[in-house]
């Protein structure tokens, strides 16, 4: 049992991780991250590698990509496609949740 209160880091969309930091957090070699950038899976701000800045959510994207590659034997373009499609499904699901009221909105007519 551990009664300490842990806070953790919120992984948000702000770009503030350098390439080195992202590698360290993900425990990966630089080449793996560069491959993901080349494939368009990660989109850092900044033009040159030294000025690349990654959002904190990239950590999740990197780990997901690595798992898909390893567990399902997908190559990088396949990973990119899978991630895009999953994002799209997530977006549609959210819209579906929001527009749900259109189908359940009107209360039944009183007898």
């Amino acid at each position: 049992m551990n009664e300490d209160l842990f806070a953790g880091d919120i992984l948000d969309e702000r770009d503030d991780l350098t390439l080195d930091e992202l590698c360290q957090v993900c425990a990966l070699e630089t080449t793996h991250i560069v491959e993901l950038v080349d494939e368009g899976i990660l989109q850092p701000s900044g033009r040159e590698r030294v000025s690349w800045r990654f959002s904190a959510v990239s950590v999740v994207t990197v780990k997901r990509s690595m798992r898909l590659r390893r567990d399902l034997g997908v190559n990088l373009p396949g990973v990119a496609l899978a991630l895009e499609l999953m994002d799209e499904i997530e977006r549609l699901q959210r819209r579906l949740d929001v527009s749900d009221r259109l189908t359940r909105g009107e209360s039944p007519p009183p007898d």
Binding site: N2, F6, A7, R67, R70, D71
Partner: protein
């Protein structure tokens, strides 16, 4: 622990060829991969399928398993059942590989042999690092406005002094800051499984989910409230008290000629953040029941005095 029928788990016959096993496995792996699947028990199924494949795809292990299986049947008690699926938690990093991910059943047959060897395929690049853990944390909308603390139960594999694999349960109390939105990830560095051979511990990743709210719907940081209004409030305009998830209520001015389907924005009253979300009020015009003679009289009066045909554009 129950006997596991690996053939049944993969969905092939006992005399399946290696190719048939591979094909069946690939299909199930895609279906239940925790990063892809929406099935609630995806993670447990993925592990089970992976374990079955690890045994059946290896001719030596398959032979050993077949020998053992000839005397047992699926579901028959073998000894106490494993409860790997407890709670939401699953072990990521390696969903399948690594000694820690296998069932007790697997460990009891192949455990001795696996330990000390290089371990199953994959994973070489961060073998000494502890596994990441993933957990979903469901909170109420109100928690996103105020912040909350949640307790999470985790189960970590550890090698004890005698070299046996044991599982240690622990509970972490975690602070959920205000302003989180659905799907947001929180990383707790070093709170995953401990590393092996002096390696770093893995991380714990929490994903925020919301319990469905009886009153509000949530989209990112925006919150929607359906507000029932009377026909006269909608027609003439009114100032109405509306609740907010933050706890206080606000006075909202509904303009005259408000229709169902319109949206009124209360800026910045959504989930806090920079920028904060908005609270959208969706008026829903509700008709009073015509359940008394006087109510019917009002409707008849409207019929005779208002020249109103909502179907004028339908061309009939």
């Amino acid at each position: 622990m129950d006997f596991k029928d690996y053939y049944e788990i993969i969905g092939v016959e006992k005399d399946a060829t290696q190719d048939e096993i591979k094909r069946a496995y690939r299909k199930l792996a895609r279906k239940y991969h925790p990063d892809v699947s929406k099935e609630p028990d995806a993670e447990a199924r993925f592990k089970e399928v992976g374990e079955a494949h690890d045994v059946l795809s290896d001719t030596d292990k398959r032979a050993a398993y077949d020998k053992l299986a000839s005397g047992a049947r699926s579901g028959q008690p073998f000894s106490p059942p494993p409860d790997w699926d407890a709670g939401f938690e699953f072990q990521g990093g390696g969903f399948r590989s690594g000694e820690s991910g296998y069932s007790d059943f697997f460990e009891s047959i192949f455990g001795q042999r696996m330990r000390g060897s290089a371990g199953p395929r994959g994973r070489t690049e961060f073998r000494s690092r502890g596994e990441d853990h993933h957990a979903k944390v469901a909170i109420d909308l109100e928690d996103a406005y105020k912040g909350a603390t949640r307790s999470i139960s985790l189960r970590n594999p550890e090698i004890d002094a005698t070299g046996n694999l044991i599982y240690k349960d622990r509970t972490l109390k975690i602070k959920i800051p205000k302003g989180v939105k659905r799907g947001q990830k929180i990383r707790l560095a070093g709170q995953g499984s401990p590393g092996m051979g002096g390696g770093e511990s893995g991380d714990l990743f929490l994903e925020i989910a919301f319990h469905p709210h009886p009153r509000y719907r949530i989209d990112e940081r925006d919150v929607y409230l359906e507000l029932p209004v009377t026909p006269w409030e909608a027609a003439l305009g009114a100032t109405l008290k509306v609740p907010t998830p933050g706890g206080s209520s606000v006075d909202l001015k509904i303009p005259a000629e408000t229709a169902t389907g319109s949206k009124l924005r209360l800026k910045g009253l959504g989930i806090p953040g920079s920028p904060p979300g908005n609270l959208f009020i969706e008026p829903l015009v509700v008709l009073p029941p015509a359940n008394s003679e006087s109510a019917k009289e009002v409707y008849r009066k409207m019929e005779s005095e208002l020249a109103f045909n909502p179907r004028s554009k339908l061309g009939v």
